[in-house]
């Protein structure tokens, strides 16, 4: 009893109990974040099976193999095309949409609630829904396009158009969040700036370009940075809509890594090496845009 009491009072010093506050999170992060990160460096220079029962050091072989693997290079290209379609359109489009619903009236609040709605859908749900809506034989949008004289478009299974469809679905899912991030930023712009612009005779369009845009520039870079980093990791939307097809035209790098590691082969070393290459690209993009964001505000 005595001992317990003295231990409690020992622990009750703020400086000591702090370790008990942070210990669980540090322990979990060490085991499930830091260890995997360090392990990926090791794995990327190894030949390893899915159970790690066989593992051997192979130097940089996995990396040289990756850069002569046409499917890997294709996956990098697909990831880049996807990002260049998805990110700028979303970052600019959401800015305009956000600027159009800055005022906190009932109608704007309803619009924001609707735009945000895809957040509650899993990628699986989005896949089930849109695959059928865009189905080449019975899709309701396919039907609408055929009424307009386009014939039956094969949205989900065409080497030319499917990458656009996948990018569209990714935008559909997240533009609401981006738009509301802009709304929040635009609401912090001082109203006196708008009043001054109005006195100068600036209309809504000029106010947007001369007051709103300059004030939310750092938000723009923030959206661009987070969306870009996210789109370089694109996996789930592709997995549930096309699985990477047709003929690998929508196979992103993470999709390819997944299939190398988990659905065929269990080639953990090679999969890790490809992940490392992607990681370098993600870090580069993030650092460049982060520096820009800081400079803007």
């Amino acid at each position: 009893m005595m001992q317990r009491k003295s231990m409690l009072s020992y622990l009750n010093k703020p400086s000591r109990s702090a370790y008990f506050f942070v210990a669980p999170s540090i322990l979990l992060l060490l085991v499930f974040n830091i260890t995997p990160l360090l392990a990926s460096f090791g794995l990327s220079v190894s030949d390893a099976s899915i159970t790690l029962n066989q593992i051997s050091f192979v130097g940089l072989d996995n990396f040289t193999r990756a850069f002569s693997d046409a499917r890997f290079l294709n996956s990098l290209r697909v990831t880049l095309v996807f990002s260049l379609l998805e990110v700028p359109l979303q970052a600019f489009g959401a800015m305009v949409i956000g600027a159009l619903m800055v005022k906190n009236n009932l109608w704007n609040k309803a619009l924001r609630a609707v735009f945000f709605l895809p957040v509650i859908c899993s990628a699986t749900v989005i896949g089930i829904m849109w695959r059928m809506i865009l189905h080449s034989n019975v899709g309701i949008i396919t039907y609408a396009f055929s009424l307009l004289g386009f014939g039956k478009i094969n949205f989900m299974n065409s080497a030319q158009t499917t990458i656009f469809v996948v990018s569209f679905l990714s935008i559909w899912r997240s533009f609401g969040i981006s738009a509301i991030i802009y709304v929040t930023a635009a609401q912090q712009v001082s109203p006196s700036l708008y009043e001054a612009a109005e006195l100068d005779g600036a209309g809504a369009v000029r106010q947007f370009f001369h007051v709103t845009v300059p004030s939310i520039r750092s938000t723009f870079w923030f959206v661009l940075m987070t969306r870009f980093a996210g789109s370089l990791q694109i996996f789930d939307i592709i997995y549930v809509t096309t699985g990477g097809g047709p003929n690998f035209t929508t196979e992103s790098t993470v999709t390819y890594v997944y299939s190398r590691a988990f659905s065929s082969g269990g080639d953990m070393g090679y999969a890790s090496a490809m992940s490392m290459v992607l990681f370098v690209f993600i870090m580069l993009v993030t650092i460049l845009m982060y520096r820009r964001m800081i400079r803007e505000g």
């Binding site: 009750n12 703020p14 400086s15 702090a18 370790y19 506050f21 942070v22 999170s25 540090i26 979990l28 992060l29 085991v31 499930f32 974040n33 830091i34 260890t35 995997p36 990160l37 392990a39 159970t51 159009l100 609630a113 609707v114 735009f115 945000f116 895809p118 957040v119 509650i120 859908c121 899993s122 990628a123 699986t124 749900v125 089930i128 829904m129 849109w130 695959r131 809506i133 019975v138 309701i140 039907y143 609401g176 969040i177 509301i180 930023a185 209309g203 938000t219 923030f222 990791q233 993470v254 890594v257 997944y258 590691a261 988990f262 953990m268 999969a271 890790s272 992607l278 990681f279 993600i282």
Partner: protein, 278 residues
């Protein structure tokens, strides 16, 4: 003045039209999914397709029950979402509190370590993350599904920001009253950050409920699958029954829709705030 109003009304019309069209682009697919879950298979695969039901049926819900163990998937999703969230709330807010308000040796180093994990996207370390769970013997267990997702640097960061703005007088008063550190935390501090906590709970439940990739890696057994990966594997099969898939999708959306209906504010605050307060 009246001239100005007239101009802004005419200017506003195309803008509102554009926003309405976009809103419909979000809403119509969801309404279509809801209606289609109650259409017979024959109507679903008819040409021209229908938007409103010609026939109304519950049959798809029977079919999905017969084809896959969907009640098990629901149970697994509930365990994953609520289990992870319960642990995450306790562990991340404890850490956030310590980083915000306590002085201790190594604080900066530990906080930097925590922040560093934010820089590494999960997709990049998914292969070794799977291996860690596998080697710890947690593959295809609830612990393997939940535990690695509990500590989240972004949540710790968010809680730290919330705790750091509480006035120090509150803490001093509690200390004079003889409360210990855990008492100060749970009785004085936690009630001050209720709305941030609710944000974290809502986002964490929604995030794990809809998470696809992690369950695909560590919960592959039929008895361990969640709604997200269970349904994805179901529609991945060649003999797909569309009606059953829609019924499953509806079952997956409904709980999060209710959460959104009551907690929309927290969804928005959490998602926007966690990014912008950085």
């Amino acid at each position: 003045m009246s001239r100005l109003n007239k101009r802004s009304i005419w200017g506003a019309l195309p803008i509102q039209l554009l926003l309405t069209v976009l809103a419909l682009l979000v809403l119509i697919p969801l309404v279509w999914l809801f209606l289609s879950a109650f259409k017979p298979e024959k109507e679903i695969i008819s040409w021209p397709p229908t938007f409103l039901n010609r026939t109304f049926t519950w049959a798809n819900f029977d079919t999905v029950h017969k084809r896959i163990d969907i009640s098990r998937y629901v149970l697994n999703s509930v365990i994953y979402a609520f289990g992870t969230t319960a642990m995450a709330v306790v562990i991340n807010s404890l850490a956030g509190y310590a980083y915000a308000r306590m002085k201790f040796v190594g604080k900066n180093a530990l906080f930097l370590l925590t922040l560093a994990t934010m820089m590494v996207p999960f997709q990049v370390i998914m292969v070794p993350s799977f291996l860690v769970v596998f080697k710890l013997g947690m593959y295809n267990t609830y612990w393997g599904l939940m535990i690695p997702r509990v500590a989240v640097a972004a949540s710790i960061f968010m809680m730290r920001a919330a705790f750091s703005v509480i006035p120090v007088e509150l803490e001093d008063a509690a200390r004079i009253d003889g409360l210990n550190e855990l008492g100060i935390f749970s009785r004085i501090m936690v009630p001050q950050v209720k709305s941030t906590l609710v944000c974290m709970v809502v986002l964490s439940i929604n995030g794990s409920w809809n998470d696809l990739l992690w369950p695909m890696l560590v919960a592959t057994d039929t008895s361990m699958r969640t709604l997200a990966n269970g349904l994805a594997l179901f529609v991945g099969q060649y003999t797909i029954q569309y009606g059953a898939a829609f019924a499953g999708a509806l079952i997956s959306i409904l709980p999060m829709f209710l959460l959104y209906l009551f907690g929309q504010r927290y969804f928005v605050e959490g998602m926007v705030g966690s990014g912008l307060k950085a």
